[in-house]
């Protein structure tokens, strides 16, 4: 057995720190779980339970073999991360603490990930914005952190309501960005996020974003395997760059500060470091494809009217598709699962027959619409409509999507398109 695998094996029974008040001989619940690969886990018999998105995330974390969880409470994330506290207490997570605030959270979790352990955090809109300086530095530090993001309004007037503008701030950082539709995704995807982000040729952080309240606080059916299973631990020896553990021969170089000077060599080093990060994002696509069964899901691929959506907007679009079908109209749907890596070719192929495209979003700025337009420019003759959009906590009634479709069919010119 290589030292690497030996360590990975022993990892599951390593010393537990900061677990006071447990009786002698206490065995952490995580140590009693059986390790199965993610592929095996996906094929295990499942029980379907009606639960909230926060509970689904908790069950996912229970099976994710997490070493370290650090977070700061914020609505609507708090539910999940306090549940993670109970998981720590039971011994499913090895170390856990409530950090001082989000700069502290996002910095500390990067320290943990640099140590080579599986690291989890979670936040929501304003917390994400506060931690963004640290978050933006994760990809370059090659830290495979998983950050759950329960989306929330970020602008004044201050509100706790769902609105996913904050996702747009993550799109150009070099991190992997998934946007989950419902409770089931919020159970399945964090597990996938860990496994993909820790692949050697990826070694990047990944966010699983989900629309707050609509998913986190509402119930839905979630199919999951028994809690006696967990995915394999992170192997801290397998990274694109060595962990910061001082287990390598010494060298007069600090990986985190290769750019100490201002000269053309340092500029080139920085440029190539960034290029490599964004190449790693592309390389993650093959793994996501495998575990997600495709980066996109397509309903009615030959339809001339298509809806392209991510997150909770997909569920609303599904219902619109169903109601149109009842009326005898075929409307198509493309669910974009990973925003980064962006499934460019897949979207171009799936939108081949489209004459009209709608991009419904839970934000004012239309970040998904922008990426869709850039992708289809010169590749499609479809009219791409920027909406419908709701924000500030509004729901997106299916009627809104149906109205837009109706207006477009009736050539109501008040709807702009590109």
């Amino acid at each position: 057995m290589s030292p690497q695998t030996a360590e990975a094996k022993s990892n599951s029974t390593s010393k537990h720190v900061n677990v006071p008040g447990k009786p002698e001989g206490w065995v952490p619940a995580g140590d009693l779980q059986e390790i199965v690969t993610l592929e095996e886990m996906q094929k295990l018999p499942k029980e379907t339970i009606f639960m909230t998105g926060s509970e689904a995330a908790r069950e996912s974390i229970r099976r994710a073999n997490v070493d370290m969880a650090i977070a700061y409470p914020i609505t609507p994330q708090s539910e999940t991360m306090q549940q993670a506290g109970y998981l720590f207490d039971e011994g499913y997570i090895k170390d856990y603490y409530r950090a001082e605030e989000e700069i502290g959270t996002m910095s500390a979790i990067s320290g943990a990930s640099r140590a080579g352990v599986r690291s989890l955090t979670a936040t929501s809109g304003p917390g994400l914005m506060r931690g963004t300086e640290a978050i933006a530095s994760w990809p370059g530090a090659r830290t495979p952190i998983v950050m759950l993001n329960m989306c929330r309004v970020i602008n004044t007037p201050l509100a706790i309501q769902p609105d996913n503008t904050e996702i747009s701030f993550l799109l150009n950082t070099g991190m992997l960005v998934m946007h989950a539709e419902n409770q089931q995704d919020f159970f399945d995807w964090p597990l996938i996020a860990f496994i993909v982000s820790e692949e050697v040729d990826v070694t990047l952080p990944c966010t699983v974003s989900v629309d707050g309240f609509f998913v986190t606080h509402a119930r839905g059916n979630v199919a999951m395997c028994d809690k006696k299973y967990k995915i394999p631990p992170r192997d801290g020896w397998r990274n694109a760059v060595p962990s910061m553990d001082n287990e390598n021969p010494p060298a007069r170089i600090s990986r985190d500060a290769p750019i100490q000077k201002s000269n053309f060599i340092s500029y080139h080093m920085h440029a190539s470091w960034q290029q490599e990060v964004f190449s790693a994002v592309e390389r993650s696509a093959k793994y996501f494809d495998k575990y997600l069964g495709g980066l996109i899901e397509v309903v009615n691929p030959d339809a001339e009217e298509m809806i392209i959506a991510s997150g909770a907007a997909v569920s609303q679009a599904r219902e619109a598709v169903r109601q149109e079908e009842e009326k005898g109209n075929k409307v198509g749907l493309i669910k974009v699962k990973t925003i980064r890596p962006w499934p460019r070719e897949q979207i171009i192929a799936a939108a081949k027959h489209a004459k009209v495209i709608l991009v419904p979003e839970f934000n004012q700025t239309g970040w998904l619409h922008k990426d869709v337009c850039t992708t289809l420019y010169g590749k499609s003759t479809a009219s791409i409509y920027p909406g419908p959009r709701v924000f500030g906590g509004m729901t997106m009634p299916t009627e809104l999507i149906l109205d837009w479709l109706k207006d477009i069919r009736e050539k109501n010119t008040s709807r702009n398109h590109f």
């Binding site: 360590e7 990892n11 390593s14 010393k15 720190v17 900061n18 070493d67 370290m68 650090i70 090895k94 170390d95 603490y97 950090a99 001082e100 605030e101 700069i103 502290g104 959270t105 910095s107 500390a108 979790i109 990067s110 320290g111 943990a112 990930s113 640099r114 140590a115 080579g116 352990v117 690291s119 300086e133 640290a134 530095s137 801290g236 910061m244 553990d245 001082n246 287990e247 390598n248 021969p249 010494p250 060298a251 007069r252 170089i253 600090s254 990986r255 985190d256 500060a257 100490q260 000077k261």
Partner: protein, 295 residues
Amino acid sequence: MSLDTVKPAPGYLEHLPVEYQDLVKHGQYGKKKKVSDMGKFKELIEEHPMCAGCAMTLFIRLVFLALPKPEHTIFVGTAGCGRLAISQGNVPFIYGNYGDTNAVASGLKRGLELRFPEQDKDVIVMCGDGGLVDIGFQGLMHSWFRHEKFSTFMLDNEIYGNTGGQESGMTTKGLVAKMSPRGKVDDKMDMLGLAKVAKLDYVARIVPTNPARVVRTARRAILVAREFGSTYVQAYTSCNIEYSIPTPDVMQDAFDKEKKDYGFEEHISDRAKAYLDDIEKKEKAAAKAAKAAKK
């Protein structure tokens, strides 16, 4: 890293740069070096791009000499002058965002404890006064109140050296600096007082006028942090550029400062004292035995 990791596989040594060969043959790995040995062995840090005469470099060099286990040490730093030298050392260095040191170190140290439960890994934060008490204040305080098991070394030049001489929380009252055009309004922040409030097991204030004392202080801070929790060393390391101290006068300035308002202070908790006494007694006995054996 095991000490064996330092040594190249048989047959390779002579093909490595002389620098590396010296490190293997004459380095401080596995040996305890004293100040009086300086110049006679290959130090972990030798070159640096800092200003000529910068007092920070002397202090940093002495802390590297003091490392109880360089092969199991990780430095955490941030923006500020000190990182220019620390990153040249033969010890892994995390160069984080400005002010994030004590949060990063908290996660790092806990992560290392999970991964290497049988192996002590020393995590050391070393950065400027501004990085710790201004932008990094919150992280610093919380790491102390959580008693995270790493040491914090402040390179206190009482100014923002790296950005060209603006006042920091550690600048003394009344000083005219950039961004304090009428003289600094408030007092120098009492970080030793705060460290005591947080009940740190080891707190020291020092000016590098006595190299052996710097080495002893640094070693104590690192060893106590390993065993009990946060420790703090505040070192006056003048910025001769921003304070216009001629290079030949840098040491005189240090002596003057020590006399004026930076006298040596060391606060050790009872449990830390018992622990250090035990270690230091054993070390002394071992040294005595070795000396006797030589005779």
